[in-house]
Amino acid sequence: MSEEEFVLEHPQRDAHFFWILFKSTFIISAFTVGGGYVIIPLLKAKYVDEYHWITDKDTLDMVAIAQAMPGVVACNSAIILGYRMAGILGTLTALLATVLPPLITLSIIAYCYDFFIQSTIIKMILRGMQCGATALIVNVGIDMLVKQCKRKQLLPALIIIATFIGSVVFDLNIMYLILIDGIIGLFFMRAAKYN
């Protein structure tokens, strides 16, 4: 795709477009429980099927980047899809609409938290939920481990073991560990079998 075509991909969008983009994204973000993997199909339904702002294939490519990139998948999708539809201004609109609802909801909850946490009943419920939340993250860990083990590859297995030991036994900074693993991947894991 040449530079000209690329620029032409963003037609002049009017104020009405940005308002609709903001409104629809805001509503999806405000009422979707469950993060990125639930939000993406909803965004697609709005942007692609209802308003025809982007094509289906474009969305697939963009979402693949959003999932691979660091950060929150829902925000990444908003950033990239927004850019695809209307450049930087589209990114800012979609991102703001994605971030505002949880920002408002959670600020309110955080303020109420100190009040609620005084109650013994609430403490008991939260104590039970801590066990449930632990089960949640343990379950995700099991799923990921099983998926990696099924691939039967030496290098990823070594990375898993070394990173775990580095983090749990030696208490090394997680960011350095991630950086090292990323560099290892960059040099030794570009083959398609690691995808």
């Binding site: 104590r127 089960a135 990375i159 775990f164 960059l186």
Partner: protein, 190 residues
């Protein structure tokens, strides 16, 4: 200045968390609980629980909650803006490069190396969660005999339900009810 510090800490989390909401948990824990002691492990797990049950991405929810608890609405905004700043720039650059050249080859290699790393970091975070859930302590238990049998029961039951594909919210609500029932019976100390 607390706002700048929050912004910077969550910037780092945003830049290094690869693989969605769960992957941000070990990073937020490392900064907010282990390094700065802004929150206790118990508060952190509560935030994680609440984030699971409220709309919006887990990472943003956690950033907002932590920010609000530490420095009010300003803190929430600083943390959230910090969290999305790296994605903002990287997203625009990647979208541009991808549209122009159609591939992101070298980046793919780096991501292949990061995927197994995320697995072990989430497993490491699970351990901290387990110490708290069963022994009610922030770090490796010093006295292993102080475990709570009721907590083991709820945790094992929840894992069983999740493996059987019961929904996340159902499991969390169920574990809350079980916590209340066992707590009222005096079996689960708070």
């Amino acid at each position: 200045m607390i706002y700048l510090l929050l912004f910077w800490e969550f910037c780092k989390v945003g830049a290094f968390c690869v693989g969605g909401g769960y992957a941000s948990m070990p990073l937020i824990q490392a900064s907010v609980v282990d390094t700065y002691h802004w929150l206790s492990m118990s508060e952190f797990v509560n935030i994680f629980t609440i984030s699971q049950m409220t709309p919006g991405p887990i990472g943003i929810n956690a950033a907002t909650f932590v920010g609000t608890k530490i420095a009010g609405v300003g803190g929430a905004i600083a943390a959230t803006v910090g969290f999305v700043t790296p994605s903002f720039f990287l997203g625009i650059i990647l979208a541009y490069v991808f549209l122009k050249y159609g591939n992101i080859g070298p980046i793919r290699g780096a991501l292949n190396g990061l995927r197994p790393a995320v697995v072990s970091l989430i497993c490491a975070a699970s351990l901290s969660f387990i110490w708290l859930a069963i022994w009610n302590v922030d770090d490796i238990p010093t006295d292993w005999s102080t475990y709570s049998l009721a907590a083991v029961f709820i945790l094992a039951g929840s894992v069983f339900c999740l493996r059987r594909k019961v929904g996340v919210i159902t499991v969390l609500v169920g574990s809350g009810v079980a916590g209340l029932a066992l707590g009222l019976l005096g079996l689960l100390p708070v």
